[in-house]
Symmetry: C2
Subunit: 753 residues, 2 copies
Amino acid sequence: MPRFPATLALPAALLFLLPAATSFQDPPMRGFTTESAKVQREWEAKFRAIPDPARMREAMRRLAARPHHLGSAYGKDNAEWLRAQFESYGWEAKLERFDVLFPTPKVRVLELVAPTRFTAKLAEPILKEDPATSQRSEQLPTYNAYSGEGDVTAPLVYVNYGVPADYEELERRGISVKGAIVIARYGGSWRGIKPKVAYEHGAVGALIYSDPRDDGYAAGETYPNGPFRPKDGVQRGSVLDMPTYPGDPLTPGVGSTPGAKRLAREDAITIMKIPVLPISYSDAQPLLAALTGPVAPPSWRGGLPITYRMGPGAARVHLKLEFDWTQAPLYNVIATLKGSTYPDEWVMRGNHHDGWVNGAEDPISGMVAELEEARALGELVKQGWRPKRTIVYAAWDGEEPSLLGSTEWVEEHMSDMRGKGVFYLNTDGNGRGMLGAAGSHALERFVSEVAGEVRDPETNATVLERARAAMILGGNAEARSRKDMRIEALGSGSDFTPFLQHAGVPTLNIGFGGLDDGGIYHSIYDTFTWYTRFSDTSFVYGRALAQVAGMMVMRVANADLLPAEFGNLAETAGRYMGEVTALRTNTAKEIEELNQRIAERTFALTNDPRNPLATPSAKAPAPHVNFAPIQNAVDSLTRAAERYEKAYGSFAGGAATAAALARVNALLRQADQALLLPGGLPKRPWYQHALYAPGYYTGYGVKTMPGVREAIEQNDWALVDEQVAKLAAALEREGDLVSRAAKLLEDAVKPIP
Amino acid sequence: MPRFPATLALPAALLFLLPAATSFQDPPMRGFTTESAKVQREWEAKFRAIPDPARMREAMRRLAARPHHLGSAYGKDNAEWLRAQFESYGWEAKLERFDVLFPTPKVRVLELVAPTRFTAKLAEPILKEDPATSQRSEQLPTYNAYSGEGDVTAPLVYVNYGVPADYEELERRGISVKGAIVIARYGGSWRGIKPKVAYEHGAVGALIYSDPRDDGYAAGETYPNGPFRPKDGVQRGSVLDMPTYPGDPLTPGVGSTPGAKRLAREDAITIMKIPVLPISYSDAQPLLAALTGPVAPPSWRGGLPITYRMGPGAARVHLKLEFDWTQAPLYNVIATLKGSTYPDEWVMRGNHHDGWVNGAEDPISGMVAELEEARALGELVKQGWRPKRTIVYAAWDGEEPSLLGSTEWVEEHMSDMRGKGVFYLNTDGNGRGMLGAAGSHALERFVSEVAGEVRDPETNATVLERARAAMILGGNAEARSRKDMRIEALGSGSDFTPFLQHAGVPTLNIGFGGLDDGGIYHSIYDTFTWYTRFSDTSFVYGRALAQVAGMMVMRVANADLLPAEFGNLAETAGRYMGEVTALRTNTAKEIEELNQRIAERTFALTNDPRNPLATPSAKAPAPHVNFAPIQNAVDSLTRAAERYEKAYGSFAGGAATAAALARVNALLRQADQALLLPGGLPKRPWYQHALYAPGYYTGYGVKTMPGVREAIEQNDWALVDEQVAKLAAALEREGDLVSRAAKLLEDAVKPIP
């Protein structure tokens, strides 16, 4: 099989414009001396040739053959099979079990009881075109994990995405959800935000439906004719309050081992208080059509052929949910290749193995790449390669309900994480298109270096070139000239969260995507058949992912000096500071404008008496904030980063001893720990990273500098001052750490006098 | 009946915040001496008390009782009734007849012939809830006037709004409309643009449908339950190429009197060359659902429950259209109140009386306000009031097919327009909400002065205050502090066009709206029942319109000095100049970015081989342009305006003689004539105004500084230079005129030595 099968043939005349793979003039390799880079490069070339699309296809066929959610028979079977695979590749592998609270549905009833009657189907039909959909007895029903139980009959109110701003719109129309059941559409936030905000506003139940405008017929042909969500397809998913803490709701902060102390269920603040149920658009349409009340504003309207109204009116809904609150066994697969030189430094890599149903795309498409990396690394070991650091490959269980496998493992192994954790690399499925990367910004340069050495299978450019081109196309002209491609900040939604945001391990999350739209997410239609018809059908992006991820692991494992670079981190922190400063300014302006409009009677004068909108309440003016501590800390970090880079300039020659570099490395691997906030974030001490957290009201979406940013968003000005001080202290610690690392590196690279 | 019946009761506590109607401290009245303003103010107060909502309701009931399109029996009946009304109010009134080409349908066939068969209904059902809809024998069928004839069977292609940018999207996907029938949705441009652009790209037929997202079920409840377009509702309308010239296509530039020389039909460039048919969304859905080919991009998707695709695929459509190319008699109603002092200065006011069917909203809701103004002015005359200038009230026929009545009349009376025309005030229907005003910017101050003295019926604020509040709500903070409310520039779409853009008469177009959404435009559902259930149901905005319009007419008719003010005109010209300068800069940047992306292979690298997008063609770089002539001309105009204002400052005392002021007025009424371009605009000499024209590819939407702006948009750089010179010359002429007027005014107001 050719190494770079260009599925998009380029005109021959253009080929000469491309740098040939063989013409690379030894691109830089962060953390390696000139000498060791040569050796490394040879092993990487061997590595890249091994991952095999045909094997990924067969692994997906096996792992996605039956439903394999947490606690299922096939989930355990998969875990054991994965362990056996790792072992067959020459790794030490074991299952690590935890016992976690995992509710599954006993009773699910949803009915419209007035003004007409309609009983929701709450079921996804079997498709004869896809045999995997027929495994009824093993499929989890459509539900939201960690919903509350309840039996409520109440008026229905449509709340758009169900985020706080939507309730302001309702309030201006005099619509309250107190005592009501809300219906929200998927999107606009992580799903768990919707019932949380509904509950905060007094709702007694919540429905979440997939609007066809987003991933149904409006987006394209529906399954089985095309990749998008059919009318009865339902997005399962967790509604645990993960922005407060993920993992077992009964064991916050500690591993849910057999002997661990557990909260009573009613004391677990992350479990939703009200019943929540996800439904299809075919079940949602009669409910939405029954609403009266004001017509929903244009931005609230979806793709159903109805007039979207806000409610409530005569529509009454009966929602009844009961669950089995099982203690389910969770099986993480943990495989290791012991480090030859630094066995107590761990380079970690994970993807979860549990799915909501058959989960071919989510998560198996990423798992099969990870497996091929493991096989390839095993092959290299057979050929004489040794990792200097210990490599730990994990296949997590229970990610879907609430990052259970990774969170419990990190909590249980916290002292290892803090003492030995060098790097965690996460994937969670894979698609087709452009490389996306997010995580610790001290690894930004490292990402570009690796991405510049892997070929994109469709264009024959490097995956770095393709990702940069997509940024340029998106209007980001800086992507042309900036030395390194920017990586995103991490919010939540996958297993990187406990590593980065709780333990402070330098972390990346990567994957290919952008050309792999579909609507089978968390449904019974996420199958081998779907994936091999509509996504990375030939697994060439699976191979590209294995190449990128494996090279990252190999580089961190064998670097002389860990590949951190702090100039990009300092610059990024400066940008975030600019954003929060601007956020305060804009918030102040918005409040001033609002109050002025109220004083000028703008709302009264423009009000439509037939569709009245209440004048919003005035707000206290926003005070000025002293951002200087952050600015000073960013300046310190910038100077420290420059000093470190200067010392780094003398490193490649190889003058430094391994012992001297080990002292630098001991600091570098604490680069994210230095950024942890003692006591964590307000209202959620589990989240400790000063730069990255999922938004308290966004869920997936990251809030950078979250303490300061969310305090500004909530107009809590006393808290802003407090959080500015904490953030500045964290950045000062980071600057100190980098300064000390620079000093040690200066000493290490000093020519022997 | 109370004078300002607030349908929105304000809390009593707020009332003291409002300036009471009686507390006005003699607000300024442009063009009146202190002395004459007092008299004027008394007559205006009397005037405002007269217009009567109950009479407007009855007039609408009569005028909209039966279909009254151009050439219909009831249309003529209405004209005669209107003439009688004017006469009963004490006006001289007559019908002025023209004979115009007016095609009506003989054959209309639309079928899907492959891959399945479907025959379009092309009919709007009768509603038992609205008896007016049942007048089948008098209703014009659903059609587009001045469509081409044809009998074509061809593949179908969906072209979104059918504007030039949409064809670029199709081209990038390798989709040609050559030999195809296009289907476009209403919106995004005036309807006549769609077949014109389709024809330019080689299409052989065009369909235009009303998407439910815009004015159908997505926007709200459909008629008869609510105001929006029912599934079989169709928007009739003209597709004559009005941006080239409006009016009778056979008599460009001259009135279509019996003896006028007429073009052969095949030589009339404004008649569409291909068959065009408007259809309902119920007829459109099977056609759109039959398309295959690429999924339409998100911005192309409407509100039908289908996957919008671009086509073509197997869908083939048969479209057959034949017309009766009748020479129809057109009856303008022209009523006059002769001026006591300056009978040869005409203050003109018009609204059309023809509708597409029953036309209650369009145009009768504006016509009934005009009628009440006429009655009120007649009452004032009975009480002893005399207009100094001649007032001409027109009820135009044939506006709907192509501004026929007004255009032929203006062309026929061109020497009167140029010699006697002082002002033309247009309305075209009326709704509920905020006052909107557009037109000659030398009248901007005049608009604010009048709008500041009329009460909004829902808020008890002035209509000026409510309009300003809406601007502030829309984010326009300038509306708070700017002395005058900005008025918009006029594009086209109603009878103001021949006055302003062909004859150079100072012009305004006004109306209330913003709170009167609906979807009955140009359908059989635009009826008295619809209007009185959903729009200005109690005709209080009809009264407000009559008050604003009537006061405008009275002020221009009796002003000592015509109310032009040139500071706002100069400032507005400066803004437009800033816009066209920025347009060149941005166009240059966009071309540079495009070419850079092509050179960098950005399009190739981001291309999705499964949904390929061709790389667009490179463009020649945009040259720099010498805008200094415009800048200098704007500066001259600004200085002249300042000089004029200085002289105006001494005017109110009353020192100037009528004869001296008459010399100033003779210049002032030519203020828009000075801005006419000899030879008109490129490709369309009929349009002569240097500042305002409908866009050649937008139709309704205005292009300000159209010669320069459209040349930049079309990257025709030689033409840009040519048009800069012509525009600068026009602005220099305007500056000269204002300077001369200032000099005459200085002389006139000089205290007698």
